[in-house]
């Protein structure tokens, strides 16, 4: 059995067991009653609706927001990253400035800023697009992640030995052609684990979108605690921890497997 497989099984059993232990320590004999109380709230936490009727809130919202942010950030990050390795200082320096500013901004602050800076709706080509809190959350998270992805992109490209650039130039390739045909295909496998780690961090960061008024799992959890009383608070937080863990941990393991695979060469 591989090292990662062992860790995977250990984590998938051990961490939920640990959380269960905490749950039992806190509630003791009332554990059963508490479970009965929060069970009806589970659909709410997962989907934001009491009966799974819509899929716009709760944990589903965290997933959707993270996927959209990631999709946007990969595109913008690759563009910014190309700027970071540009030969011309006129492109490189501003890119690097933007990258550093975005990377050093706390996500919470960027999310707040989105809330205040972005209008509620914008007109593009005559269409009115409404910027719901979820959309603002997507943009707010995509911004700092863009900076991180740009760095990953730059790192990946620079990890390719200079001999590849040299030999491709001596075969007559131009700079962008080298990037496209020679360097990026090789850098991509190196970048994938980092991108996945980034996605994991982004997903964990979706717990902050509560500030934009998006109806994510943590907002729902706090509402429920306010209504149902703080007796259920521990149980709800444990449940939220478990949700995040069950989503992020398999990604982390997969990432590590890929990292090991990247160590070996093609094919």
């Amino acid at each position: 059995m591989s090292m990662q497989m062992r860790t995977f099984i250990l984590g998938m059993i051990g961490v939920p067991a640990l959380l269960a232990l905490v749950f039992l320590t806190v509630y003791g004999e009332q554990a059963g009653a508490i479970i009965a109380r929060i069970l009806p709230r589970v659909p709410m936490l997962l989907t934001g609706s009491a009966d799974f009727s819509s899929l716009e809130g709760g944990f589903v919202a965290n997933i959707l927001i993270s996927l959209w942010s990631m999709a946007i950030a990969i595109v913008t990050g690759a563009m910014l990253g190309t700027g970071l390795i540009a030969r011309s200082a006129f492109v490189r320096l501003p890119s690097s400035l933007v990258m550093n500013l975005l990377r050093n901004s706390p996500w919470l602050v960027v999310l707040f800023a989105m809330l205040y800076l972005l209008p509620f709706e914008i007109e593009i080509f005559g269409f009115t697009v409404s910027l719901s809190p979820a959309v603002k959350a997507v943009i707010g998270l995509a911004l700092p992640v863009t900076a991180n992805i740009a760095e990953i992109f730059r790192g990946g490209v620079q990890a390719i030995p200079s001999g590849q650039w040299e030999s491709a130039s001596s075969l007559g390739y131009r700079r962008l052609q080298i990037l496209r045909h020679v360097v990026i295909p090789q850098a991509l496998p190196l970048m994938v684990p980092n991108l996945m780690t980034m996605y994991s961090m982004l997903f964990i960061g979706t717990s902050l979108v509560v500030v934009t008024g998006a109806n994510d799992v943590l907002s729902v959890a706090r509402t429920i605690i306010a209504v149902d009383g703080d007796a259920v608070a521990t149980a709800i937080y444990i449940f939220v921890l478990l949700l995040f863990f069950l989503f992020c941990f398999p990604i982390a393991i997969l990432t590590r497997r890929l990292e090991h695979r990247v160590g070996t060469s093609h094919p």
């Binding site: 030995p161 001999g163 590849q164 040299e166 030999s167 491709a168 130039s169 001596s170 075969l171 007559g172 390739y173 131009r174 700079r175 052609q177 045909h181 020679v182 295909p185 090789q186 060469s265 093609h266 094919p267």
Partner: protein, 251 residues
Amino acid sequence: MTTTSTTKPLIEMRDVRKSFGTYDVLNGIALDVREGGVVCIIGPSGSGKSTILRCINGLIPVNSGTIRVGDFAVEAMKTDRELIALRHQVAMVFQQYNLFPHRTVMQNLTMAPIQVLKENPADVRERALKLLAKVRLTGKEDAYPSQLSGGQQQRVAIARALAMQPRVILFDEVTAALDPEMVSEVLNVIRDLAGEGMTCVLVTHEMRFAQEVADEVFFTDRGVIVERGPPKQLFQSPNDPRLKDFLDKVL
């Protein structure tokens, strides 16, 4: 200085100087290679041998002097388009092979002609197969570089350079990274090429090989060509004390 050939040389370097920052690497290099000629450059490590080849290929710009390859004035080239035309004529093979690890042997050979020279893929493939036969690697078309031995990889690199149908090939210590047993495989391929009349410029530490195939040998030290001549003469009766010293150590 004397030139061994009487026709107009294919490659001609005159008073070429190059520095990296404050460090002078080439201090006035003069060198010529006739069409079909085979010349070797020898010299201690750091004396500028690789830099000479890089300059001929336009990979690095020079500070002063002229470099002519065929009708190209390399030192004056600025745009990508000019350089690509040059590199169509001047191929280079590196010590570390620098094959594209994410592509098969066949793709390594065909990529540049198709993507850079926009040649017809079918023609390129056909030519590539012939070249693989020439470097004795028929059957390895679909292997990846990592699945080949060092000697095999270096032969693929030579075939890749040939696939561009160049007039000159520059070899930079192509056997230095190889296990001793594999060296001869690669040298055999170069020997064949030289025999067929391909213009070759070799940087090498294989003195016996240089003696056997080269028309002329150049000895560089600290960025200048200290001595030049036919290999026999250079190796058996060196004039310059530095060359004597170098040959003592290496032979």
